[in-house]
Amino acid sequence: MKTSKAVPAAATAFAVSLLVACGSDPAGDDGGSASNGETVELTFRQFDPADQIQGLAEAVESWNADNPEIQVSLETVSPNNPQQFAREANSGSGPDVIHMALADVAFLAEPRILVPLDDLLSSDPLDGADQLLATDMTTFDDTTWGVPWTADTMALVYREDVLADAGVDETPQTWEEFQQVAEQITTGSDGEVSGFCFAAGAQQPAAQWFAINYYLWNHDMFLIENDGTGWQVGVTQDELAGAIDYFNEFFESGVTPTSMQALTDYADPAIAASLDDGTCAMTYMPPAAFRSVRDQIDAELMTAPMPGGLVDGSSHLGGRALGINANSEHPDEAWAFIKYLMSAETFETYSQYPASAQTLTELDVDPTEVGFVEQLPHSVPFIKYTDAPITIASLQELINQQFSAVYSGQTDSDAAAERIISSIERELQD
């Protein structure tokens, strides 16, 4: 009898000891305390690619040099993986300060794994807090869970000389004009130059998602909308089929090479190479990708607002926010560090646009980046789609897949539009 109990007991004890050994320490557990005169050690996790954060690394080094009592280690986990942070935070660990895509703040706020910032904002206010952009993306249940840090949008990236060769002096202002100009460039070059290059892959992250939404928003169409009574599809089948036809026409007319249908990234080497050799006239990119491509190729690139980009609400305001892990044992020190990251001092070395209306207007940007700066004040965050029963990521996957199905001839625009709408309706009902 004793024997039969002893074996499982030993096994349980062994299992428990393993679990205890595998358990992770809460954030900052061994970080000391500034109030005790010891050095506080914070971890700041960011997700932008390592080649885009040299300026940020310098800013963190500068903080560490000036604040020996609060030392910050910069951790890069790229690409963005909010689920990983959630797993860590839900198990009592994770970095102290977390870098979030604006669209992810609500996901992390809902399970309460971030520190509510309202008390910190009132006790130790942030300079220019009233000038911050996209604060509706960092507010959930009337509580502030993050502070918008950087802002970006997609601007039209083009070869000025290639447009000039086609007799185009100004970038197109509307989507209809854009299509005409792109066709003019391609036909004028006997098909040698693609008027418009864009990553039209079916994959969820494919960049075509942004252009499609810009087109829809500029024509007062939204995939989903909440009229106060509940979520519903915000576009008719005919309207959506029209949008699909618009983008498919670039492939039908030969303005965009079919090979673009296999691409995902706006800065795919194939796009960068064709911009470089002049076989691509126009595309679109966010600022970081633009700088990366601009620095890699010999050709001179320019930016301009997207078609309709100067119309309020016709482009998206993306960007990053900063938050504090609910497990952090040093929220006050983390807040002090966040205030530093939000300051003009950080942006002296970190080449991103601050998510502040005031700072944006004072920016002295490179002339080639004028398109971003002109468009940003008119851009709006994806707030229209947040909090819906269907995630933005799922919408993105659905749209990219169905548009791609039409480009590749698997279906027509009406059937694809019908499928998009029925899929959204099913998700909204669930």
């Binding site: 024997t3 002893a6 074996v7 030993a10 096994a11 062994f14 299992a15 393993l18 909010p82 689920q83 959630a86 797993r87 839900n90 198990s91 996901f107 992390l108 809902e110 399970p111 794994i113 892959g201 079916a202 994959q203 969820q204 494919a206 090479p257 079919t258 090979s259 673009m260 249908q261 296999a262 995902t264 194939a270 190479a273 064709s274 269907i390 995630t391 990521a393 799922s394 993105q396 996957e397 990219n400 897949q401 169905q402 791609s404 199905a405 039409v406 480009y407 590749s408 001839g409 698997q410 279906t411 499928r419 998700e427 669930d430």
Partner: protein, 303 residues
């Protein structure tokens, strides 16, 4: 008293010795498997703690099966991803194993080099292999298109990964190229275990090469082939990397497979319960296959 204690100790010894291994197996295999079953009946997002899950009964399964994309993904998984690639690997695997087993290679003293070369694709990490193949197959600047154009075989680049007529064959080429060495090495080991006397006897009976292959080689390879088929089918059926990195399921959802649907459900729709349901369905399909396959194999062996 001491004799009794000694006997009890002897009786306990096997249990005590195997307990650590059983606990590790339970922690690493049994617990995740049971938790996956539990999760399939719950609603949980990747942002929530497991304790926040709600019970939803069979809803995850009904939603998965009602998804119009599920049927296509299941067909793609069974036919294109698994059946076609496994059959091709068996055909090419046997051919390459026979070539590597050839006495000519030994005579030329290149057998070791040839076998090392045959293993090379397996040494390349799948991510690197897919990246290289994407570059080879690129519709504009890909090496394959440039070669075909320079030979005058095509006028303009073929977007292999963007058109339905070529995309599955492109994915299959990548999988077969990368995974072929496993089949080759196992089959080669099987070939080496066949006694030369059997070939000599067959030769004396007047059997030609093809007859020797059918009557000596294949029957002797049966046990090895059984293992190769079982292992490659299960590994390929559950594979996510090749399709995801090559096409992401596109164009449209033309190359979507169950593993990519599982990933999308878990991390784009934030529905871990739905993903667990897909995983459970995949496990059930493979379990049924394994049982039927092993039963058929053992039955033939018994006969």
């Amino acid at each position: 008293m001491s004799a009794t204690t000694g006997r009890r100790g002897e009786r306990l010894q096997p249990y005590l010795l195997t307990t650590p291994a059983l606990v590790i197996v339970a922690l690493l295999f049994l617990f995740p498997s049971i938790y996956n079953v539990v999760l399939a009946f719950q609603s949980l997002s990747p942002f929530q703690a497991p304790g926040d899950a709600d019970w939803v009964g069979w809803r995850n399964f009904s939603r998965v099966i009602a998804d119009p994309q599920f049927g296509g993904a299941a067909f793609n998984t069974v036919f294109w991803l698994t059946l076609v690639t496994v059959v091709l690997r068996l055909i090419f695997g046997i051919a390459l194993a026979l070539a590597l087993h050839s006495p000519i290679l030994r005579r030329w003293k290149v057998r070791g080099l040839a076998r090392t070369m045959a293993l090379l694709p397996w040494m390349v990490p799948p991510v690197v292999a897919v990246a290289a193949w994407r570059w080879i197959l690129d519709g504009n600047s890909g090496v394959l298109n440039q070669t075909l154009e320079s030979l005058g075989l095509i006028d303009s680049g073929i977007p292999f990964l963007a058109q339905t007529s070529t995309v599955w064959w492109s994915v299959i080429a990548i999988i077969v190229w990368r995974e072929l060495p496993f089949a080759v090495m196992v089959l080669l080991a099987g070939l080496q275990s066949i006694p030369d006397e059997q070939y000599e006897a067959a030769s004396l009976d007047g059997a030609a090469r093809w007859r020797q292959f059918l009557s000596v080689t294949l029957p002797n390879l049966r046990p090895v082939l059984t293992v190769v088929v079982l292992v490659t089918v299960i590994a390929t059926f559950n594979n996510f990397v090749y399709v995801w990195l090559t096409t992401g399921g596109g164009p449209g959802a033309y190359t979507a497979v169950l593993a990519t649907e599982l990933y999308s459900t878990a991390f784009f729709a934030n529905n871990l319960g739905g993903a667990a349901a897909i995983g459970l369905i995949m496990t059930a399909i493979m379990a049924v296959f394994a049982v039927l396959y092993m039963r058929a194999t053992f039955k033939e062996d018994a006969q």
